[in-house]
């Protein structure tokens, strides 16, 4: 050991807050007053017994300390500090007498003093580091960071017995017990000094002394670089979300979807079990990690590898572009909005022309909390309610501002805003509790028609408008469906029609102006590319069209870009082609040749094979069967046959792009509906628009609600059998 410094000038600081924190004694506790008195009484006697002393010294890492944090022979600083024997003896006396309160108090006071010594030791460390032009990169403690043998190494190297009069047991415990040791890793960079105790790594989340040193996460995203500061023990995903850095987390941070991958460029991130599941050893070596599972313990730099979502195609309205009649002067404007789980669509509506005059669409940034409603519900229940509300409020403001700017109108010209959205989206916007939405019997807070001042809903006074949230039928058949039913004339239609929204939640309804039956059949995100090995949203380069000829696939991609994966439409097309050419049998088993590796569709620009696997086929079977069985149950309960259904409306962006014939090939929709299917696009937005432009809108919506009944498929006697039956391909 080159140099040892003994420190004896300690202040014997015993902060009452620290002691009470250690004992978890809060101000509102009934014993607080008594504890305070006892504390004051003990303060001087305890101080008398304290004998704080410490030694610090440079040394090298011996063999027994080598671990993933320390290399053999590496330069380190050892620190050994104690408050002496007397105080422990003092507290033992009280324990022996049976005065546990005093005993505990003294013990905690000794701890507080030992913790407080950190500051003075730190000053000394700073001084020696400055002298030698070195820095400290991390503070390691046994047994969390390094082996218990560190206690012995520090004891030996600093000659604990001689310098501090302490001893050590064969199991590396010090006597006196109020002694602590640390190992500081040094570096040539004199600007770093991380000698502070850091609770970040510690899993004792409930610990009363918890104090976390902030760290900086530097994020490179294409050509942008930004920094976020994390002040908690939290995942990269959570840290980013909190600071409003958008990150799409399909599974809501469960480590299941693998879509939140980042690459570590500098610093350290432990490899988690979820990482091992999603990445090959090579990828792990390159630094790939799942952001939702990674708890950084120190400064890091990462790059985001998330897919480019800028080209996401979003369905606004019925696909027909609004035509503007420039001769009309509008007396004012309204705004129709659809809040989808994935996307948001806006239309500015002229009060005189009663026509949309501008539109806007964007992604729902709540995707950072998970792709489906259930993950959002869970996030809300996990204390992220306010964040979710802020996210949607901001997104709505973006859209509203964009419309106003595009038409160069005044905010004061906006009169009303009508919103269609599912029950969860409504709850999150209104700041309602989602506790009841996630578990049976799925009780919402309020699904009636809501009319509130702008400020109350959006949290600012940009507009002086009224916000209307269209009502829903239940937690899983929400305002978006009611809006869709209204848009498809279910309130007035004499003939029976079927409405199917092919989103993750598969809501559907059958009916006419007499009565309506609705249900929902959470098919999952497979039709949107979720849960599919190469699945993705409708982004540039996603395969959307597939033809198989002579065992080879010919594909077309969105924007004719090099293939990067498969969008929902591509998923259905692939499945249908595989069935048509008998590469899968009716049970869904892929031919032997493709069973292991999957069917190759194309290659990416880097030469990776884009395949459709056996597992993907299974996902489609589960999803399509859930929808199909739902349709079948609705028909039975309504008491009609296929030919008694006059029209079948497919709602949602996916329903708009889907190749109807192929959806029949895979059995998602019965063949018997051939010729009756109409893609209606975003009928939730359409309904909101009509609500703003039609006279008797409120009454008609009311009529739809009155006539609607909901059935619960999980309680339906036929559903399960139908579900099994329709898993097969015809």
């Amino acid at each position: 050991m080159e140099q040892k410094i003994k420190i004896t000038k300690f202040q014997k600081k015993i902060a009452r807050e620290t002691v009470f924190q250690l004992l978890n004694c809060k101000e509102d506790s009934p014993t607080y007053q008594q504890m305070k008195e006892e504390f004051e009484e003990l303060l001087e006697p305890v101080k008398e017994k304290l004998a704080p002393e410490a030694v610090i010294g440079f040394g090298k890492v011996p063999e027994e300390l080598v671990c993933d944090k320390l290399k053999l022979g590496e330069d380190v600083i050892y620190v050994l500090a104690t408050v002496g024997k007397e105080v422990s003896r003092f507290s033992s006396e009280f324990f022996d007498e049976g005065d546990f309160l005093k005993g505990m108090l003294i013990d905690a006071m000794a701890d507080a003093c030992l913790f407080a010594m950190d500051d003075e030791i730190e000053d000394e460390l700073k001084r020696v580091c400055a002298q030698r032009h070195i820095g400290i990169v991390s503070r390691l403690e046994a047994p969390e960071d390094i082996p218990m043998a560190a206690q012995k190494a520090a004891f030996d190297q600093l000659e604990g017995e001689k310098n501090l009069g302490i001893s050590i047991s064969p199991s590396y415990m010090y006597d006196p017990v109020k002694t602590s040791c640390q190992v500081m890793r040094v570096s040539e960079d004199a600007t770093v000094f991380k000698a502070q105790h850091n609770c970040r790594k510690c899993k004792a989340k409930g610990c009363t002394m918890r104090n976390i040193q902030p760290i900086t996460i530097t994020v490179q995203n294409k050509d942008k670089t930004f920094q976020i500061v994390s002040k908690e023990y939290e995942t990269i995903l959570d840290a980013m979300n909190k600071q409003g850095a958008y990150f799409s987390a399909v599974c809501g941070g469960k480590g299941n979807c693998g879509k939140c991958k980042v690459r570590l460029l500098s610093g350290e991130l432990e490899i988690t079990p979820a990482d091992k599941k999603h990445f090959t050893q090579e990828e792990l070596d390159k630094g790939y990690r799942l952001a939702c599972r990674a708890y950084p313990t120190d400064d890091i730099t990462i790059s985001m590898t998330t897919q480019d979502e800028s080209g996401f195609s979003i369905q606004v309205g019925h696909g027909t572009q609004e035509e503007e009649d420039s001769r009309i002067t509008e007396s004012g404007y309204d705004i129709a909005i659809d809040i989808g789980t994935t996307t948001l669509a806006f239309q500015l509506v002229g009060k005189t022309s009663k026509k949309p005059v501008a539109s806007f669409a964007t992604l729902n940034r709540q995707r950072a909390f998970g792709a489906d409603v259930i993950s959002r519900i869970q996030a809300s229940c996990d204390g992220k309610k306010a964040e979710l509300q802020k996210s949607i409020q901001e997104d709505l403001m973006t859209g509203i501002r964009a419309l106003i700017q595009e038409k160069e109108i005044e905010p004061s010209q906006i009169d009303r805003i009508a919103i269609g959205g599912n029950t969860t989206m409504g709850h999150l916007l209104m700041g309602f509790s989602c506790e009841g939405l996630g578990v049976y019997p799925f009780t919402p807070v309020d699904i009636g028609l809501i009319e509130r001042p702008f400020q109350e809903v959006l949290g600012n006074t940009y507009l002086d408008a009224t916000v209307i949230l269209l009502p829903g039928i239940s937690t899983y058949v929400g305002g978006d469906i009611v809006s869709g039913l209204y848009d498809c004339d279910f309130g007035t239609n004499e003939k029976t029609a079927l409405l199917v929204d092919l989103g993750t939640n598969g809501e559907m309804a059958i009916g006419n102006c007499q009565r309506i039956i609705t249900t929902s059949t959470a098919a999952g995100p497979a039709f949107e590319g979720g849960n599919i090995s190469w699945g993705m949203g409708s982004v540039q380069g996603a395969i959307c069209n597939v033809k198989i000829e002579d065992g080879k696939a010919n594909v077309t991609t969105i924007g004719d870009k090099p293939p990067v994966g498969l969008c929902g439409t591509g998923v259905i097309e692939t499945m249908a082609e595989l069935i048509d050419h008998e590469y899968v049998d009716e049970t869904g088993r892929l031919e032997d040749e493709y069973f292991e590796e999957g069917f190759e569709l194309a290659k990416t620009a880097e030469g990776k094979k884009i395949t459709f696997t056996q597992q993907d086929v299974r996902e489609i079977q589960l999803a399509k069967s859930a929808v199909r069985a739902g349709i079948e149950v609705l028909l039975r309960r309504f008491g009609v046959t296929y030919d008694q259904v006059d029209a079948v409306y497919l709602a949602g962006g996916f329903g708009y792009h889907i190749n109807q014939e192929k959806s029949m090939v895979i059995g998602l929709i019965p063949h018997e509906f051939d010729g009756k299917i109409k893609a209606v696009g975003n009928s939730s937005l359409g309904g909101a628009l009509r609500y703003l432009t039609e006279e008797n809108a409120k009454e008609e919506i009311h009529r739809i609600l009155e006539r609607s009944a909901e059935i619960d498929l999980s309680q339906d006697a036929d559903f399960n059998d139908l579900y099994m039956e329709h898993m097969f391909f015809e």
Binding site: N256, G438, R618, F728
Partner: protein
């Protein structure tokens, strides 16, 4: 193995529920040992079915069909079996946790575990903690309690259920297994369950290992 037993095994694997009964009868008539028909003809056949399911070769419906066929066979066999030879591995309670109504996955698990020789008590869906504890008290010879959850929002309910079981005075007598699409090994460890498996076939293997 006698060709008659082989025949039973084939029919079970193919899920021919109507033909299994007569085939079992034929095997019995020929003087085959009932326990051997059960083990060689059915339990082993189901293990093969389970293996195929695990490898994605067959799917939910085929597996259900096979299990139904086995059940038919057991009905015929039962009067000939000595008491206790079905369910010889011990008793097991299975339930979908409170707030969750998904039961297809749980049923598959129950089925495979039953086919592996356990006596399964299925408490159904949306099962509150108290009901599970009550059931255990009525069946103190239970060796394993299995919990299923399919919603991320009912994972907390699974956590609570496991916590309650962990605090019970009979904890050392039982093993707890958990599963369902959103459940991971990590989550299982975190909440203090003894075992997790990804699918029904591995669930049966796991159950067998846990009672060893």
């Amino acid at each position: 193995m006698s060709p008659k037993i082989q025949e039973v095994a084939d029919l079970v694997a193919k899920g021919k529920a109507k033909l299994v009964g007569p085939a079992v009868q034929a095997a019995l008539d020929e003087g085959c040992d009932p326990t051997e028909i059960l083990n060689g003809g059915m339990i082993d056949a189901m293990a093969v079915v389970g293996e195929k399911f695990k490898n994605n070769e067959i799917f939910v419906p085929e597996m259900l069909v096979a299990a139904r066929a086995m059940k038919k066979g057991v009905e015929v066999l039962k009067p000939h079996l000595s008491a206790g030879s079905t369910g010889a591995m011990g008793k097991l309670i299975i339930a979908t946790v409170a707030g969750d109504l998904h039961d297809i996955g749980k049923n598959l698990v129950a089925m495979m575990i039953e086919s592996a020789g356990f006596e399964v008590i299925d408490l159904g869906v949306d099962v509150p903690i108290e009901k599970i504890i009550e059931c255990y008290k009525a069946n103190p010879d239970t060796k394993i309690i299995c919990l299923s959850a399919l919603l991320t929002t009912t994972m907390p309910s699974m956590r609570d259920t496991v916590a309650a079981l962990n605090e019970s005075d009979f904890r050392s007598n039982i093993k707890i297994m958990v599963g369902g699409a959103p459940i991971t090994q990590e989550f299982a460890d975190e909440i203090g369950a003894d075992g997790y498996s990804e699918d029904a076939a591995s669930a049966a293997t796991l159950a067998k290992n846990l009672v060893k």
